[in-house]
Amino acid sequence: MKDYRACTGCGICVLPCPVWQQTRDLSLTLAGRALALQGGATAGELRESLEACVTCGACEPVCPEEIDTVGMTLELRKAAPLFLPELHAKNGQKGSFLPGDSLRKHRLCDVVLERLTVSPVDGSDIAAAIEAGRPIAPDRLTQFLESLTGTELIADDGILHRPLRSWGFTVIGLGEALLRRRPALHATDLYVIETRGYHADFPRLVRFYDELRQRVGCEMNLDLQRAAIATGAASLQHRTGRGQVEAAEQARWILEGRDVKRVVVECVDDIEPFAQITDVPVVHLAEVTS
């Protein structure tokens, strides 16, 4: 894939960007970073922009130049890393399911484990380090990779999908895994896709979710480009109270003009922002899966 030098400034990547949606400030977007770099700016000068990005990845599949937009942002973050909370991974487990940091601490984690009948592995420290642009100790990485078993991994945190694939694993998101069990979805639902995993495997998943949408008839958090609109609630910044993107505002935009009876989310982080702004039930996909 290409890097920032290939950016033509078309600006299509800003259209699904949550940071753009809320700030209308080009300098805080992927396009702004690419154009500033072309103009001679350094990663240090882009610190504010790098801190704003929620790495939802929506910019990547819509880029006509096929720039590795997420990779570019994560690489730049290495020069201006995000605040990283101290995370202690539970070592010694072996399995094929990686619950994200939020799900791991959530009551629904047991429900998910019951539905999927899988063994969990803790990779939340790896995911956070990747997202923050912090180095991962080689020993810890080796230990982590050795703990992964099975032919197909299920990773709840979409930030892990790309690296896991680059390390040679087959990986799907929690949403896809639960959808295989045919959950009870209705045409009156708003179905909220986990954005990072979706955009990381866009050519395949755009068809997968399009088929679901046609079959069920439900609304989804997709824009006209078929990028998934993120609340930003799953981002490291949001989880550490440093986010610039108001997740509830994003949820409001996703719901605007849509008449739905229930919100079904793939990512537990998305429950709260929707619950804040709507009276209809907000449930996790695992709760409607038997």
């Binding site: 033509t8 078309c10 299509i12 800003v14 000068e45 130049e65 755009v206």
Partner: protein, 507 residues
């Protein structure tokens, strides 16, 4: 004095400087910024903030603003323009920045990023109008309208063109033969004049300002809000007809457009060998009417019939095998992009602007783009396109022509110094000549020489142009004549005494 950097530093430690003594070069900048900051305007002067606006969609003109302001309100823009008049600092407004001749590039002074003003104010489903802030991208407007089952009438095939910028230059779509240019969709505008007064205007309220600002290239005010006509959203069904003759395809384009046989109609070519006439329909009824009444009058072929003809053509001309392979590869790459399954429902395309715009950028976009054009009356169109095509062949191995009709609702004052040619009646006709520059390197001189050769055709045939501002402004007096240009210059001087708003675009 703050000297004016004109682009990214070419050599480390040696900033490129503005050396044209005729241009503003930093006088009064410090006091201007102090004045603005005192009034609460956030002026960004860092390199990262300024350099991301250093060029436009064309990528040829390079310039650096001294500072950037993100537009937040009409009041803020009024404050800026009043201060600019006082301090004599140029102000450049920029929407999507998709100009190609540097019209939205600031060569020093202040750049106002208008897309900070992007809220949709109100949608009136009864009167089928939308009131929106003018910095919004057309695609963002479409996203909001679609949730209400609505769509805009017509806009450029660029998702990130801004409403305000488009209204200022015209705006052409493949349905412009039905609806006219985008500027003609405007019902009312909120405008901040160059002297900082905020005014509402329409055909009945301040009509002179309304007519000056529409198609006015940002010379007579900054459009901060617009009320525009909208329509119920419909998916559309597409048909493609293929021609090997430009003339025949253009005659059929004119037939379809003049007789209102389709809701969308345009020509897109691969060189001048594979000429594609696109027609599309908003309803099955319209499609049926076309197929029964007009289809047999068109001389284009279907895909397979045309492929067979081309195979025979090139079999008899083996020395042109490279051209044949180019056309085959180009077609194979392009067609799937125009029919992505997730944007198709029951054979109809559900997001045509997304599909087209993405394809346009993917296959025609690049670090540099030059898109000279000719805008003519019906009688001159075929000759203008054929002559322009000959120029393309001379300058580039690969290029595309894009032709559409633009409906006119009588002659309007706004057309006076615009892309609408004086002698057009009922319909104007436009053709863009776009060389494929991706992967190739051409000098600026070569590109400029190509544009001049196209525009010289316009002078010879007395046509107009869509892109006559910025680097092409040398053609304005020759194309429109001293009398008309002097009239507009006098109007400009009256409206903008310090000549600070969008300098270098027209005047």
């Amino acid at each position: 004095m703050v000297t004016c950097a004109v682009g990214p530093d070419s050599l480390q430690g040696i900033p490129r400087q503005q050396t044209n003594p005729g241009r503003w070069n930093g006088e009064g900048w410090g006091s201007f910024v102090s004045d603005l900051k005192r009034q609460g305007v956030d002026v960004r002067e860092g390199r990262a903030d300024r350099s991301l606006y250093r060029t436009d969609g064309g990528g040829v003109a390079q310039g650096m603003a001294h500072g950037v302001v993100i537009a937040r309100s009409a009041q803020q823009i009024a404050t800026i323009l009043r201060a600019a008049q006082t301090h004599g600092v140029p102000v450049k407004t920029r929407g999507g920045g998709l100009t190609t001749e540097g019209e939205s590039v600031a060569f020093g002074g202040l750049l106002v990023a208008m897309n900070g003003l992007s809220r949709v104010r109100a949608i009136d489903k009864d009167s089928l109008t939308v009131r929106t802030e003018a910095g919004i991208y057309w695609h963002s407007l479409a996203e909001t309208l679609r949730r209400q089952g609505l769509d805009y009438l017509s806009a450029p095939l660029n998702l990130t063109s801004s409403v305000g910028g488009t209204l200022g230059v015209g705006g052409v779509d493949v349905n412009s033969a039905k609806y006219g240019c985008s500027a003609d969709q405007a019902v009312a505008l909120q405008v901040v004049t160059p002297t900082g007064e905020t005014q509402e205007c329409s055909e009945t309220e301040n009509p002179e300002l309304f007519e000056r600002v529409l198609l006015g290239h940002g010379q007579f005010g900054v459009i901060t809000e617009a009320t525009m006509k909208v329509r119920p959203y419909t998916p559309c069904s597409m048909h493609y007809f293929y021609y090997s003759s430009l003339r025949t395809a253009i005659e059929d384009l004119q037939l379809v457009s003049n007789e209102g046989a389709a809701d969308y109609c345009g020509i897109l070519t691969m060189l001048d060998r594979a000429v594609n006439l696109l027609v599309a329909f908003d309803s099955e009824e319209r499609e049926r009417q076309f197929l029964s009444r007009w289809r047999r009058r068109l001389r284009g072929y279907g895909e397979f019939g045309f492929a067979a003809r081309m195979a025979v053509h090139y079999a008899l001309r083996p020395w042109r095998v490279r051209e044949a392979l180019y056309l085959r590869d180009r077609k194979n790459a392009l067609m799937p992009e125009f029919e992505p399954p997730h944007h198709i429902r029951k054979g109809k395309i559900v997001d045509r602007t997304v599909v087209f715009s993405r394809a346009v950028w993917k296959f025609w976009g690049g670090q540099q783009m030059v898109i000279p054009d000719l805008s003519t009356s019906a009688e001159k169109f075929v000759e203008a396109v054929e002559r322009g095509n000959a120029v393309c062949r001379e300058y580039f191995p690969h290029y595309t022509l894009y032709c559409v009709g633009i409906k006119l609702n009588g002659w309007r004052e706004r057309y006076e110094l615009s892309c609408i040619p004086r002698d057009a009646e009922g319909m104007a006709w436009g053709c863009e000549f776009e060389p494929m520059l991706k992967g190739a390197t051409y000098s600026r001189d070569h590109l400029q020489s190509f544009k001049n050769a196209i525009y010289d055709i316009g002078l010879d045939m007395n046509t107009s142009y869509y892109r006559f501002g910025g680097m092409m402004k040398g053609y304005i007096r020759r194309a429109f004549g001293d009398e008309l240009v002097d009239k507009h210059l006098a109007l400009k001087r009256k409206a903008d005494p310090a000549m600070i708003l969008n300098a270098d675009v027209i005047f």
